[in-house]
């Protein structure tokens, strides 16, 4: 007990909160309780400042100008790439492709890798708990290539059925694309095991890290995934920036995704040659300000002790799970053994949207609906859930406020 207390003290959540300006706003005359972090996290001051500073001090297009500002912007932009490489523990900086977000990263792989490598009757395996961003791109390419999409089933608790996965694997399996952490349920999937099994069957693996990156230590070398996709805006960074990590030897063999500026070697009307990695996959002017500011988000994460953040979030998850399920008529959705701070639930007799509206009236931001995982909702036989999702700056008091607000909503609705 003493040890626990010490740790709680060591984690200074108030100091942390002070770094996020938006956490001070009032919503419907209540202090904001922001529990929609799986949708997007809030941004620390340093990230906001970096965005502003770029536009104020050195706004210029990158990689093409010879003037001072262009040089400065290019250096700053490329520094983010290096920082991402370190953050993910990738072997080479050209393995880091800067994209718009997870969705674009997955589309890039499905489109470029898929076009080159998939053929009729090949199989792509995803899981029941995928976000639409990790379903639709594969449907599109599978349809085009007459390949088949196979789906790993889950248990009622929301855990992947690894035995079923094993039996889906075959020499026909060319790609396994699964989510690291479920945005609707919080389940942490055993990706290392999945990757090992997939590799043994000769398949390539993409991990959708949209929800895991802010909460778990990511090490792509140890994980040994072939691709890893993430969104900066879910990791305390700006919107419109994402990462695709890919193993160099695989990326090198892939055709370009989009054509345009930046990605070319030489353009002739007879034949165009392509730029080298990573620029081959970065057509057009990117979100320069966002990429530069993303580096600050990574600094911010690195400056905070990862273990302490994780322990804090796990304590909060445990507390929130207990508090919320103590409300009569609450049914938790997603009770996997290994979870991050996502608490999805239903209130018997009430539509999730009604619960969400009444929580909003009390200053509490949650998400309601299917969370872009309709096949998962269908599997669970529910129209959607109310989802509270935690980040490093959430507090036990906020969970108490959520619980009180929930009791009030219940009283009003039922």
């Amino acid at each position: 007990m003493e040890a626990v207390k010490e740790k709680i003290q060591a984690y200074n959540v108030t100091a942390l909160r002070n770094k996020f300006p938006v956490l001070n706003v009032k919503v419907n005359r209540h202090p904001l309780v922001y529990l929609d972090n799986a949708a997007t996290t809030q941004k620390p001051e340093s990230v906001i400042k970096a965005l502003e500073s770029y536009y104020k001090n050195y706004n210029a297009n990158i990689h093409r100008g010879i003037h001072h500002l262009a040089e400065k912007a290019t250096v700053a932009f490329e520094e983010t790439r290096t920082e991402v490489q370190k953050f993910l523990n990738a072997a080479h900086r050209e393995e880091i492709i800067l994209t718009k977000g997870t969705t674009e990263s997955i589309n890039l792989v499905a489109s470029s890798w898929g076009r080159k490598n998939l053929k009729e009757n090949d199989e792509v395996i995803i899981s029941t708990m995928e976000h639409h961003s990790n379903i639709v791109p594969w449907q599109l390419i599978c349809e085009e290539k007459k390949a088949k999409l196979k789906v790993i089933p889950i248990s009622d608790e929301g855990e992947l059925d690894l035995e079923a996965f094993r039996s889906l694997l075959s020499p026909k399996t060319k790609m396994v694309s699964v989510v690291h952490v479920s945005n609707s349920l919080g389940t942490i999937n055993p990706v290392e095991e999945i990757i090992e099994m997939a590799h043994a069957a000769g398949a390539v693996v993409l991990i959708d890290g949209a929800q895991s990156t802010a909460h778990l230590k990511i090490d792509v070398a140890r994980m040994n995934c072939d691709f890893f996709a993430l969104s900066a805006h879910k990791v305390y960074g700006p919107t419109g920036v994402g990462v695709l990590y890919g193993k160099k030897e695989i990326l090198e063999e892939m055709p370009p995704y989009q054509g345009g500026g930046e990605m070319i070697g030489e353009v002739k009307f007879e034949k165009t040659t392509y730029n080298e990695l990573p620029y081959k996959f970065e057509a057009g002017t990117p979100n320069i300000a966002g990429v530069i500011a993303f580096r600050e988000a990574l600094f911010f994460l690195n400056a905070n002790n990862h273990t302490l953040i994780h322990e804090h979030e796990q304590r909060l998850l445990e507390y929130a799970t207990k508090k919320i399920s103590s409300v009569d008529g609450i049914r938790l959705i997603g009770t996997a053994k290994s979870k991050i701070g996502v608490i999805s639930f239903l209130l018997n007799g009430a539509h999730p949207q009604d619960v969400g509206v009444l929580l909003d009236q009390q200053g509490i931001a949650v998400r309601t609906g299917h969370h872009c995982t309709q096949p998962l909702m269908t599997r669970l036989g529910i129209p959607g859930t109310v989802r509270a999702s935690l980040a490093m700056y959430n507090t036990h008091e906020e969970i108490d406020l959520l619980t009180e607000a929930l009791l009030k909503a219940k009283k009003m609705l039922l």
């Binding site: 419907n28 539509h351 949207q353 009604d354 309601t368 609906g369 009030k408 609705l413």
Partner: protein
């Protein structure tokens, strides 16, 4: 037959009702109560062609014309939406097509419920109002 109240008069009645509420709880309790009291739509009407799909909640809407006036019936699986539907029906049902087409439904803003019509709410309410006007337009065209 007595002439029904005009849209403007009914809107004013609702605005007056809402001005009595001191806080958001009273306001929402009233809307929830209205939602619960709105007679559910018969299952035969709950078919695909009557669905106005929001992203999260579903709204069903049917309309019929009698003696130059349009009558609406509607339902939803979410009770707050249903309460707001009941207000819309109170205002628009039994009115003429011309009046329905002309109204701007200012009362929604005046009772502080505009946020529920925002696109992001995805609750089908905005589409429902559009659909009510479409019905009015269709009936109007047929009649003239």
């Amino acid at each position: 037959m007595i002439e029904p109240l005009s849209i403007g008069k009914i809107e004013q009645e609702i605005i007056d009702d809402f001005s009595l509420f001191d806080n958001w709880e009273e306001k929402y309790e009233y809307i929830i109560d209205m939602g619960k009291k709105l007679p559910p739509l018969d299952d035969i009407h709950k078919k695909e062609e009557n669905i106005i799909k929001g992203c999260q909640s579903t709204v069903w809407l049917v309309a019929e014309q009698k003696d130059g006036r349009i009558y609406f019936k509607a339902d939803s699986d979410a009770v707050i939406v249903k309460g707001l539907i009941s207000l819309l029906i109170r205002v628009l049902s039994g009115q003429t097509a011309t009046d329905i087409l002309e109204t701007k439904l200012d009362f929604i803003n005046k009772i502080g419920m505009m946020q529920h019509l925002a696109q992001t709410r995805s609750n089908g309410l905005l589409s429902m109002i559009k659909q009510m006007k479409h019905y009015a337009l269709a009936f109007n065209t047929v009649a003239s």
